[in-house]
Amino acid sequence: MTKLFIPLDSFAVACGADTIAEEFKRLVADRKLSIEIVRNGSRGMAWLEPMIEVETPDGRIAYGPIEPGEAETLVDAGVLSGAGHEKRIGKVEEHPFFRAQTRHTFKRCGITDPLSLDDYKAHGGLKGLERAIGIGAETVIAEVTDSGLRGRGGAGFPTGIKWKTVAEAKGARKYIVANADEGDSGTFADRMIMEGDPYCLIEGMAIAGVATGATKGYIYLRSEYPVAIDVMREAISRAHQAGVLGASVLGSAHVFDIEVRVGAGAYVCGEETSLLDSLEGKRGQVRFKPPLPAIQGLFGMPTVINNVITLASTPEILSAGAAAYKDMGMGRSRGTIPIQLGGNVRHGGLFEAPFGMTLGEIVNEIGGGTASGRPVRAVQVGGPLGAYFPVSLFDTPFDYEAFAAKDGLIGHAGIVVFDDTVDMMAQAKFAFEFCAIESCGKCTPCRVGAVRGYETVKKIIDGEHPAENLVLVEDLCNTMKFGSLCALGGFTPYPVMSAIRHFPEDFHGEPMRVAAE
């Protein structure tokens, strides 16, 4: 039977993949074709989604973007045997966007049937967990530490150190929490791995369990991701049935269970302590630290809280060894990073590569510039709390420290591209507005500052004492930056100040104090 792959990934589904799959299913039945339809993850070339692939003697041939209503013409044109067609992309592996990547964490995503454990194993799955069980907790932690893996949720904290702290902490129970809140605009890597390779996250969490002695895992998954919720729940249930999870993980003495918990639409619940309060059934307010979650986390117990991609990177680190991972990257940013390109970009999607490419290479060469065909003017890197970068800073390499040196951040590695029609004053206003909407209200600089900032930028837009009000905005940003309890209030100044600093002409062309720095 020939396999026909039609993604179940949200990119594809949002553009009609479910309808397309139904159409093909009907054709296969009506014409008694020897075709098996597999709902796979996305290969990450979002601008080509829904992208279908058909297995042929020459390999998997892709076509896209497919639209609902096209199935019959495609079949008649011989697409099921790889025939030529205007939408034929050819082999994904040979596509420039794909060929230029180093697929480490996403190596299976889009290739396998996400819910088939057999497929998972056939593509190297569970090797990391098997090895982890074999070498034991201490060695696992040493490997993760040696790999140089840093948290992909934004702060870039060394994962091995976090795991070691939890391993050494005393507690009646310990927890592994996967932060799948992925609230940053412009990011979708967590979603894609959960939809396209859910066992990879399950395996990563189980490895963290082996390393720390934790027996229970939670995936805190945002409610805006209905597809990921369904896929993850089904995968967990199958992993249980197969003995990957449960009272004896892969037949070992380790106990590990996972449960999906659905968020309720609060951006701040991506912040780790707020997330823990939310899991406990409380208002998602940020906690004072210390105590660290690693010492007193969920229900007061030692807790590893890691981003989805952090956890999903560990199976391959364990199976291929720390050295292979550490050998990639630059400076203190080791390994690969799944870069997410969105907004007004020609080739949007997910691009996994070692750290170190320049922003310009990523946006212009990989992303192909804007979708509108107009010049790129600004890119926001790292979500709503990330800085706007002008084209003059496109030589900045993708690396935690290099971005910090330019008053920016990598965050969860989302890049949103804007063309020259963008109004940076409107973007600065939005940054304050977003902070005001999402503030948890615990501290004054954020709760009050965001609202004041929003009002003040509005005045500048209306031409009301722009120079004085810009000084006021700058003061507010300083207060928020240094007086906020968490990065929601503390980092909102990044998008605001970067907009003012790099695009002064949008703020009534007033000479900027900051611009002179």
């Binding site: 553009c15 208002r283 063309d419």
Partner: protein
Amino acid sequence: MVFQARYDEAEAAEIIGEHRHLEGPLLPILHGIQERFGHVSEEAVRQVAAALNLTRAEVHGVVTFYHDFRKAPAGRHVLKVCRAEACQAAGGDAIAGAIETALGVKFGETTPDGQVTLEAVYCLGLCATAPSAMLDRRIVGRLSEAKIGALVEEARL
């Protein structure tokens, strides 16, 4: 589709019973209640608080903290349109405006016939197929002026 079922204490008790054995059962219970009854009413708050040994103020505080939970019924359908940066960059503001016009309501409002509630959402993880929206549980990407007609039509059904 969002159900506007009449509150039923026995059913609510069933939902509570399904989840109360969980660690930190409150959010799963509130999700269950809202899915069944369309919103979390004062009656529901009282019943959940009593069942979990919490004060009404505590439960009320949780319900009002999260954007997802509503204290009052919404329209039969909820259309959430992404207003975050990637969608802005892809022309989302114009799309959002056109949706407001087509529905005849502003964000945060429900059409007079009670069919559709229009809400803002901040990122659906569809930033590379922007602008995007979600109608109840169905996600929609690459919104264009042309696609809005069909989407609004569907929401009005």
